[in-house]
Symmetry: C2
Subunit: 446 residues, 2 copies
């Protein structure tokens, strides 16, 4: 079992509520996959055993960030669907492109995604995509932690749904860092019957359900017109909320939906990815204040890079802070502390790992990013929390541990060959955006 | 005279209108302070003379970015005024802190700001602050280009205004890279009489006027209530628009103001800094679509780092694209090309240098940033313009030239000692945020 000592490091402390703080000059001891002690350096016990020492002087240890909602292999389509409406994004770009998905292309994309995230201090991602077994393999190889929901549409037929659910079952056993959820695409692409069956299986087998719902208020309006109910009401009546759901986006969640969500707050999380809402001119952002009042936990995500262009959770959490202040017309809301809490504890909840990751405390899995705030864009540091929310860049992340293992050291991956990953991605990139085949995996008409 | 050859580089071409494009495999020749030729590498003339060669293979040359509105020395207050309303930001934090300004502290802050900007590929900044002679000295030392407007309030009395204007006159002669404007603070802190006098001097001596106006719609409403006119009407009737103005923010510019601005479109620019508008929950962003329809040129800025937290123009231009799509409910607006045009040509206009910088063409000043898109967060590159707007980071900037001189090489400043700059900033940081003196340089009650 490896033992790591991060010596003389500042530590970001993220309490369940109230202000985050930074404790200077701490020693973090990691034994195997867990944090065992965090003690002031000057009162630190004498070393014993074979400790690998990381000098933390001048660095800030933060809980590894969680990407609460993404489609990691879509990095392969980065920059290929720009300046288009949400309808065209789905119907003229992405869903026609996804005809080209193959296991190999997904694997290559997922490896690139894992590299990008780890180098930025993102230690867990919550994924929703096809060929999830390939994504799992890439995650295992890279050393990152992942919660994976194999995606399905009703239009693809029951065998396809069964196959996705079977994949979810398989994923549960392959590695301690991999967890699985069930991944119906959305309330508007999966029938109520299929959602009900999904919820039954989730309840019976202890899965959580990760899906898109009420992405825009247009979708909510359309659902009310077509079915007389909001997407949240669909999730309730089909049992999805009862089973436990991670809802991606939720920008169209209405005030009147909040009392529904409140009843399931212990098992509901919402992932907010605001760069996407602005870029696609979706009209709203996630109503986080209302959700938090209802007791619903919220995480921060990037969505896929075919719209977000990066898998940078620092960027996402900054956009959450900015767009929430804007939405509520309240500069005193979505404070530094609350924003950092969403990106760490909130993300842990979104990943179904609220008790295992998200904070730096003895007993937690050792998922840690060491950040260097000495660059000119962060200096002087009047408040390190402000630096983390408003000025830090992924390039400030120096060292990253996941499950106690050093996966990034001095800004370099220890687990994979980045040049090879990039070469593979470049070699296959054109195949993903080829529209010569015609067809599409689905049509967007919510 | 130095001669630089950037060999085999991709070049971002930013036309006056229409699509930006990237020309691969070009040789850029720089003779002294100007670009002399840009030719395909395979048709490049034989070398002659003493060329310093920069290998551009795999890099993208972009016009150095322009920070169209900032208060550079405010980096010294980075992170010291978080999660507060605009009223509290001014009245409880910044204006009380600015009692502590001294020439030395401004100089130290400006040096740090120049370092941060150059390392990010920002080659020109348009500044509005006190002790502008100190900022000029820092700019000259660093090698950056700057347009500086010494700031004044009416409340400080006529001698103070005279001194600021005298400083502007002095700045014109110190270096070819330094230009000067007149810097009344805002329509709500400078009297109409003083604005009139400023406009007269500007007209007579060929200065442009850089000031805050209609920062929020609240300010416009208040101006209408108190004076019966909008801030743009104030600028017109006092002659400021006639003299030529750079208007910071302008989020409160009304539809009815556009026909006024249209009359002065040849000499008016507006700087948009949207991260700030969201962070301070100001309610609106700059109405760029209307301004562009009226023929007014628009640049991208960061404002001061006491609210923007960075001087990163990549971040600002991304926020402009995102918030403009959001504002207009139109994902097809503020395209990649238009966004890049604002940050380059628009910025050049905001700096009063529309004919000298902002594009890479023979005859222009050689202000060039070489960007490396090979990092995993930019790959694969389906569209390099999309990478520049939505995924690039300041850490992707490798080499920077200003006026033909290499000021950043391999991500290191060539002109200044960064460690010394950072040490100076850290040593003085506490003095800027000390509120024990009491008082404030001004009161915000627009």
């Amino acid at each position: 079992m490896s033992q790591v000592l991060i010596r003389n490091v500042a530590v970001l402390v993220v309490p369940e509520s109230g202000e985050c703080r930074v404790d200077d000059a701490q020693d973090i001891r990691v034994d195997g996959d867990r944090i065992t002690t965090i003690t002031p350096t000057d009162a630190s016990p004498a070393e014993s055993g074979e400790w690998e020492v990381i000098e933390g002087g001048g660095l800030l240890a933060v809980p590894g960030l969680v990407n609460s909602h993404t489609h990691s292999p879509m990095v392969m389509m980065r920059g290929a669907a720009e300046d288009v409406s949400i309808d065209d994004w789905f119907n003229r770009r992405i869903w026609p492109m996804e005809v080209n998905l193959t296991p190999e292309r997904v694997r290559v994309g997922a490896r690139l995604a894992c590299a990008e995230m780890l180098l930025a201090g993102v230690t867990t991602f919550v994924d929703h995509y096809f060929h999830a077994d390939q994504i799992a393999a890439a995650a295992v190889e890279s050393g990152i932690r992942a919660d994976l929901a194999p995606t399905f549409f009703s239009s693809a037929g029951p065998e396809s749904i069964d196959a996705a659910i079977a994949t979810a079952r398989d994923l549960r056993t392959i590695d301690s860092r991999i967890t699985a959820g069930l991944g119906p695409h959305a309330t508007y692409t999966v029938s109520d019957d299929d959602l009900r069956r999904t919820a039954d299986i989730a309840q019976a087998e202890g899965f959580r359900i990760h899906l898109h719902a009420a992405e825009t208020d247009d979708q909510t309006r359309s659902s009310l017109e077509k079915h007389g109910v909001t997407p949240m009401q669909v999730l309730e009546r089909t049992g999805v909320l009862g089973a436990g759901a991670l809802i991606a986006h939720g920008c169209g969640i209405r005030e009147s939906d909040l009392h529904i969500l409140q009843r399931y707050a212990d098992r509901t999380t919402v992932a907010s990815c605001p760069k996407v809402y602005l870029k696609l001119a979706m009209g709203e952002v996630t109503p986080i204040r209302g959700l938090r009042s209802a007791g619903v936990r919220v995480g921060v995500g990037t969505d896929g890079a075919a719209v977000h262009n990066t898998l940078d959770v620092w960027e996402s959490l900054r956009m959450v802070a900015l767009t929430q202040k804007q939405r509520e017309h309240d500069a005193e809301w979505m404070t530094l502390s609350e924003t950092l809490r969403l990106a760490t504890r909130g993300g842990a909840a979104a990943a179904g790992l609220a008790d295992r990751i998200g904070v730096l405390e003895p007993g937690r899995q050792a998922d840690i990013a060491l950040v260097d705030l000495s660059g000119p864009h962060n200096q002087p540091v009047h408040d390190p929390r402000a630096a983390l929310v408003y000025s830090v860049r992924p390039s400030d992340v120096i060292t990253v541990l996941v499950d106690g293992k050093i996966v990034v050291r001095d800004r370099q991956l220890t687990t994979m060959n980045l040049d090879e990953i990039l070469a593979d991605a470049r070699a296959l990139a054109h195949t993903l955006v080829d529209l010569s085949q015609g067809g599409a995996i689905q049509h967007y008409a919510p």
